[in-house]
């Protein structure tokens, strides 16, 4: 199918501009900043998050900031049973969405995940199982329409298992791997898949970590993400960019050495 392949490559080579965006986990710290930028650019947004009240506040804010339309759907995305309803709503409300950003996640204390299997399973459920499930629904739609962009926020923690956060890291790492495969599949249909790997960012999810005041600003991460969504850009986005280099070093430390490191 050389014709098909060429069409796909042409599509990815074009300057892509996100206009109608579905955000899964719209009230997460990084998503809030991403939405503001899209609002200023006059985009149309569909927001999914748990709290109807927070969604209403967010909707008002984004409309004032310039979003051309904002619709909301309250759902707990950690529960896979609710995914069909979320997807149906998106198809009905924003049938020609061109971008999907998955932005939710959870970070339990590593020690809690070691002490309780329930907590560990919850960590995997929220960050990987549910995320890959809902991405599958949206991926099929974009693949069928042969357009658009699918992005998900994973983490640099998923690049290598570490003593201090391997439960979170393994869930995010699994999601990164899932996206890698998905990218290869959707590439044939001209759909972009972007893996977003933020370093530590100052959000409610990370407030309890030591030194959180030194983490990157969510607004900075959001600028990088929006740029990546709009343009032809690396398939895997590290933000701040320094983490690409940090992780490439970390990646090459031999396991016999790495297991002795305390970070």
């Amino acid at each position: 199918m050389p014709g098909k392949k060429m069409a796909a490559e042409k599509l990815t080579a074009q300057k892509f501009t996100a206009k109608k965006i579905v955000i899964l986990g719209a009230t997460s710290g990084i998503a809030l900043e991403v939405e503001r930028i899209f609002a200023r650019q006059g985009c149309e947004l569909l927001l999914v998050a748990r709290s109807p009240q927070r969604l209403a506040e967010l909707q008002a804010d984004l409309l004032i900031r310039g979003a051309s339309a904002v619709s909301t759907y309250p759902a707990d995305l950690a529960s896979v049973q609710q995914h069909a309803a979320v997807f149906d709503y998106s198809r009905r409300t924003l049938p020609d969405f061109d971008t999907v950003l998955l932005a939710y996640g959870s970070m339990h204390d590593q020690k809690d995940t070691e002490a309780s299997v329930d907590v560990l399973l919850d960590e995997l459920q929220v960050n990987f199982v549910s995320a890959s499930a809902i991405l599958t629904l949206f991926a099929a739609d974009l693949e069928r329409r042969r357009t658009g962009c699918l992005a998900a926020i994973t983490s640099v923690a998923g690049d290598r298992g570490r003593r201090v956060n391997y439960a979170y890291g393994s869930a995010k790492g699994a999601l990164s791997l899932f996206l890698q495969g998905l990218r290869s599949r959707l590439h044939l249909a001209g759909v972009r898949v972007i893996t977003i790997k933020p370093g530590p960012v100052q959000t409610p999810m990370t407030d309890h970590l030591p030194n959180s005041a030194r983490f990157a600003e969510p607004a900075q991460a959001a600028r990088d993400i929006v740029r990546a969504l709009h343009r032809r850009s690396p398939d895997v986005l590290y933000t701040p960019r320094i983490w690409r280099y940090v992780m490439s070093v970390v990646h090459h430390i031999p396991e016999t050495v790495f297991k002795r490191l305390s970070f």
Binding site: D76, S79, D122, V126, D207, A213
Partner: protein, 453 residues
């Protein structure tokens, strides 16, 4: 565990931070806080208030108060910066409802392109709406527009015992007046209704006029106040016996004509050595500043940000003063007592510790919007002093005497060291403010000036 319950346990954890160091803009005093809560939504605030011990909390915004009025040493802060959403805007009237952590900068960025501007703006755009209300800030248009609080129509206040209390001029008006200028002590502002002002564009018709004496300043100010919305003067307190300064005045330009391109701000990456600003370098800077402004043509069309926020062009300019930080001294002196102002300037000139940023402005007759509002009819003088320990404190002490004898007052938002006596003299109504304080709230400043533990 379901996602929902996991989410709840996450939230509870996310509420506390380990001990952190937060400084005010003057970087003096150095304090440590036990916890900093960082709620991202108004629905998280009641739980924080409920769980707190009496007198343990204080709302915190962008930390642009110079002294300790935004600090709560050894206790806890509620960082409101994530409460930064616009909730409603009426495009026909310019009435904006926003959460308390919204910065004035965000309001300008969003609404100036639509032809709306802040009714009152202080000398920096990096303050929150909550902070602007809590300090009842003033600007270059005080003589005709009053303070920021005068343009607040309604607020909703998180109180530890009464829940979310709406306050406007019909309901709970006393609580509204206590919260305006209330230094954050009456509760956490959930949202506020602010009346924005229609403007033609981003440009200011500005004039600068050099003056050589206090009398000349007064003449200029009186003559300008009717014709110009914005007036302020820069003062060189190192010029010796002969006062010199530059009077700035301006109006919103009627026809923008030009396109406005925002500039990127420079940012100081770290604290400069504390000797960087000494009497010689300040003298040189002042002379240069004076020369630049006297050599320019008198009239110019300026973009709003270089007219209102010249200092914002250097992010973190407070680091110029180095590690020890600095204190700002802002007083108001009744107009009938101009001799006191001259005495102040004499003492500062004699000490040789004057500052680069001397600002002089005539306040208007507007009645105070809040119970503890600082602005009142008179002349207000604001100066920075590099913190050099006892030497600096003694100079300020001697300035206090002049201010107190003249019947003047000091500005809490700028203060890190005034005595309880001077506070009581500056704010004779402070005891009637006490009943409005939320029992969970306190601040370093409040404990200091009321001698409470």
């Amino acid at each position: 565990m379901s996602g929902q319950s996991a989410a709840i346990s996450r939230r509870q954890k996310a509420v506390t931070l380990p001990t952190t160091r937060i400084l005010s803009w003057g970087r003096y005093p150095k304090t440590a806080h036990q916890h900093v809560y960082r709620p991202a939504w108004n629905d998280e605030v009641p739980a924080i208030l409920n769980a707190a011990a009496p007198g343990s909390l204080l709302p915190y915004g962008l930390g642009r108060s110079y002294g300790d009025s935004c600090l709560n040493a050894g206790r806890e802060l509620i960082d409101c910066r994530r409460l930064n959403r616009f909730l409603a805007f009426d495009e026909s009237t310019g009435m904006l409802r926003c959460e308390s952590g919204v910065s004035l900068s965000a309001i300008i960025d969003t609404f100036l392109p639509q032809g709306w501007f802040l009714p009152v703006t202080p000398g920096t755009r990096f303050v929150t709406v909550g902070g602007a209300i809590a300090n009842d800030v003033h600007g270059k248009n005080h003589h005709c527009a009053g303070t920021f609080g005068a343009h607040v129509r309604q607020i909703a206040l998180h109180r530890s015992h009464d829940g979310l209390v709406p306050c406007n001029y019909d309901d709970n008006s006393a609580m509204l007046r206590a919260t305006i200028g209330g230094l954050g002590l009456t509760g956490v502002i959930a949202w506020a209704d602010i009346q924005l002002k229609r403007v033609a564009g981003s440009w200011i018709d500005a004039e600068s006029i050099p003056f050589q004496s206090l009398q000349a300043f007064l003449d200029l100010s009186r003559e300008s106040n009717d014709r110009f919305e914005y007036t302020v003067a820069w003062l060189d307190c190192f010029a010796g016996k002969n006062l010199r300064g530059i009077f700035f005045r301006g109006n919103h330009a009627a026809n923008p004509g030009k396109k406005y391109h925002p500039k990127r701000a420079l940012k100081l990456p770290f604290a400069l050595p504390s000797w960087f600003l000494n009497r010689h370098s300040i003298k040189a800077l002042n002379a240069a500043y004076h020369r630049v402004h006297t050599s320019w043509k008198r009239k110019a069309l300026l973009p709003y940000d270089s007219f209102f926020y010249p200092l914002d062009a250097v992010g973190q300019w407070n680091l110029l003063y180095g590690k020890p930080g600095f204190v700002q001294y802002q007083c108001v002196i009744p107009e009938t007592n101009c001799a006191a102002l001259e005495e102040l300037l004499d003492r500062i000139a004699f000490s040789g510790m004057g500052s680069f940023l001397g600002v002089l402005k005539q306040f208007g007759p507007a009645p105070p919007a809040g119970l503890l509002s600082f602005p009142r009819p008179g002349l207000t003088l604001a100066l920075d002093f590099a913190m050099r320990g006892e030497r600096t404190l003694q100079l300020l002490q001697s300035l206090d005497e002049v201010v107190q004898q003249s019947g003047g007052a000091l500005y809490p938002a700028k203060d890190a060291r005034m005595s309880p006596d001077l506070f009581a003299a500056s704010f004779p109504r402070w005891r009637s403010f006490v009943p409005y304080i939320d029992p969970k709230m306190s601040s370093s400043f409040w404990r200091r000036v009321t001698e409470a533990r």
